[in-house]
Subunit: 267 residues, 4 copies
């Protein structure tokens, strides 16, 4: 019994054996299929014409996910820890909406929950070599979090002020019906999205808008600069050199002597 | 009395004591609430239905800000200097519009002034660790000010010329009713905002627009390059320290010893 | 006979002789002309008024390309290898649609194939000094392929989740008629394209949209950072050369001596 | 006489004396005024109501520019060289349209020429410290010209192919009336401008568009990377170190030994 469990553990949780790899690929296919299904179901024409087949497929997929979920609980060494882990919750949320749909009528909003099945892909990818690239990016973003927070905070203050000014200038007649609407316009403009659903009509408004656009064009350089700098010169400093004399540990890659105490650093 | 004043000073102007921290957080909440209030007031539906409650809240917040403002004047060592400082003026502008609203009818435009309350958040943030990140960014932007000015000046000349050409090509029938309108379109296009409220209709106009767009796509690289370069290799790091022993001259600001030869650097 | 063939080979496949250079320039002109022809043919007004002349020009160009194609097959040393090479297939696809047009009525879609003639330009450019620049860029992009894949995968997951949420929030009445439509909107917004054909109408939808836009504004920094880092510090420059004397290991590809200690590096 | 000429030369062509500086500032004001005038003239409401005053101002400015132009010709040492220099031609084009307007009726298009007066600002700026910043940027762009050309060529091929495919997919009914129109749409989309004047209506078209947008989002990284890399590591290599042994001259800033021949480099 322990042997079977051990083996199932290898297949379901790891990707080192051929069976484990096959399981991952199969699961990936089912996940993608299930996400495609949720999408197709939302298209009116398809929903009307293929309702029975969509229902059957949904139940088949839910069945597979349910079996997988139960297997994971049975096999894992610490079931409770799994159940309340990030992926445990995602796995639970992947199956529960379909069952709830039996009891609740008009469970339209459960669709969002089912789309979360997509996040399960990350668990499978975790086992691949793409993780390294992902981790590098995540590290760079994480290391820039303070700078990016400051930047986003600054952008928010900017759009609030701009949005208010435009609300005064353009007024309700030109679509700027309230300050939040003005702020929405300011964000649309500053980020260079530019839907055009609201756009300034007066000369003064267009002049202000021009300034905002050029501003947006210039300040997009800031997040880019932050992240690029972080990827090029990671502030966590890749090298592990520590000064043998004063224990300072943030040395440039080409440093030969500690810049703090002047002691020679071991290469 | 001096003791109380000292203590109040610590609470209101600093953030080192628990009471000071609590004061800052409380103030932050009131500021955000007050900004939210100004926004909500501008939404027609809300303004009509909740007028009494909005009025009361506005007066409560104005009251709090007034007390805080007076306290600051009383407590600070040099009241005049505070009153005419940046934050002193912001603090004054935070309370005055509500009082003015009593006398002036249709004080619609005072709303812009009240939104400036938002800037008070910066004072509170000044006391946090996010300041360092903000200062780094500000330094990088400040160091790039000449390059960015040249770039923006170049962009302005470009859009004036492009806007004039498009005014000739497209003419008033297609929405390019004047050169300023053409320039507005050129900015909307070059910055890749693209509202679509004015867009070229003739083949020649669309051809010109295509060139402008590809240009805009390419020259956005310039501000990004400037800021990124500045963040990676701060030009102020070109501090004037030169190693007296090996003449190496690119030392970090916090370097005490030459990283190339280990000699002590004059501070 | 062998002499003539040798000479033709030099003219057609190489660009070292004056005749070879002339051949390349002439071919470039014909290719550009042929692409322009395909474009003009698609314009209704031109198609109607100039049909005869367009037909003649098309056959002339097809004739030239056919002769060139046959010459290449005859002259090249390994004809089969050429025929099934990338450019061999492109060359074949450059001539076949016109012949097929004789038999198939309404061969409207063959137009896409004819536009592929454009790719033939790359062969000619291959012989110029622009190749070096192109290769550097291609290398940088290729070296970043994993990071960019991870980024794009992340963007896809993001837009699927956002698109689904917006489908729920805005609903079919506001243009978000299905989840795929919501995803389309999310892509249009996140990439800051912003057509405005679908745009959020509800306050909650506009709030969500604002978050998505600021997000898009911030995460565009990621691909930029990746590629910039790669161009500046090519990771393949992490060539495995290590100085045998001082163990310095970041040498340029063309370095023969260690730039730190002057010792000879093993090639 | 020679003394007066010398003095006038200093005033008009240089900016070292107070008089020279005053002349430059005065000229700058007149230029900006003249450009503003051209713009205002194009606004229908202003043109109708203020025609007489606009005419007078135009003639005053033209008069000033004419006097200045003649003075430059008289004072400069090599008049012919000046007349046919870049700024000589700009100066000529600044005055001639107004005179031509006397003879030619409906000289509407001369407006473009008059806007070129704006370029005269560059001559004045040339004498300021902003030139250094401008030159650095220009150098970086010039050094990246090959890479940017390759990139733009690649973008052009891409939009031609995408435009053709979309013309086939969407067809004339959805606004893609010809291949050039499809290419126009592809440029609008790839550069993330997104007017929305033409946007895909079919599901397949929107799917294709989504791919194009994500592509555009990713490849904008390329020009940014090129320019940033160039600004950070100028390929013309700022330092003037030349190897005393082999005369190799592209050393890193931190190089101590020539990487080509191993000789010690003078710091």
């Amino acid at each position: 019994m322990g042997k079977t469990r051990e083996r199932l553990y290898e297949i379901i949780f790891e990707a080192d054996t051929p069976a484990g790899k096959f399981f991952d690929v199969a699961l990936l296919v089912v996940i993608l299929l299930s996400v495609a299904l949720v999408m197709l179901e939302s298209v009116p024409a398809i929903r009307t014409n293929y309702r029975p087949i969509l229902r059957i497929l949904e139940w088949v997929i839910t069945g597979i996910f349910t079996v997988e979920y139960l297997l994971r609980i049975i096999i894992v060494r610490k079931p409770l820890r799994y159940i309340f882990s990030f992926y445990g919750i995602i796995d639970f949320l992947s199956v529960i909406p379909t069952y709830l749909g039996l009891f609740i009528i008009g469970s339209h909003h459960l669709v969002v929950i089912r789309i979360l099945r997509m996040l399960r892909i990350f668990r499978i990818l975790k086992l691949t070599r793409y993780t390294q690239a992902g981790r590098t990016l995540a590290k760079a973003l994480w290391a820039s979090r303070e700078k990016i927070s400051v930047f986003i905070f600054f952008v928010i203050v900017l759009v609030v002020v701009i949005g208010t000014i435009m609300y005064i200038i353009e007024g309700e007649a030109h679509g700027f019906t309230s300050i939040p609407r003005g702020i929405y316009w300011a964000i649309v403009t500053l980020t260079t999205v530019g839907y055009g659903d609201i756009s300034p009509q007066t000369s003064l408004g267009q002049f202000m808008a021009s300034i905002v656009m050029i501003m947006g064009y210039a300040i997009i350089a800031v997040p880019t600069g932050i992240v690029t700098a972080e990827i090029i010169n990671p502030s966590y400093k890749g090298n592990t050199q520590v000064c043998p004399s004063c224990l300072h540990d943030k040395h440039d890659d080409d440093a030969k002597f500690c810049k703090k105490c002047g002691a020679k650093i071991n290469p």
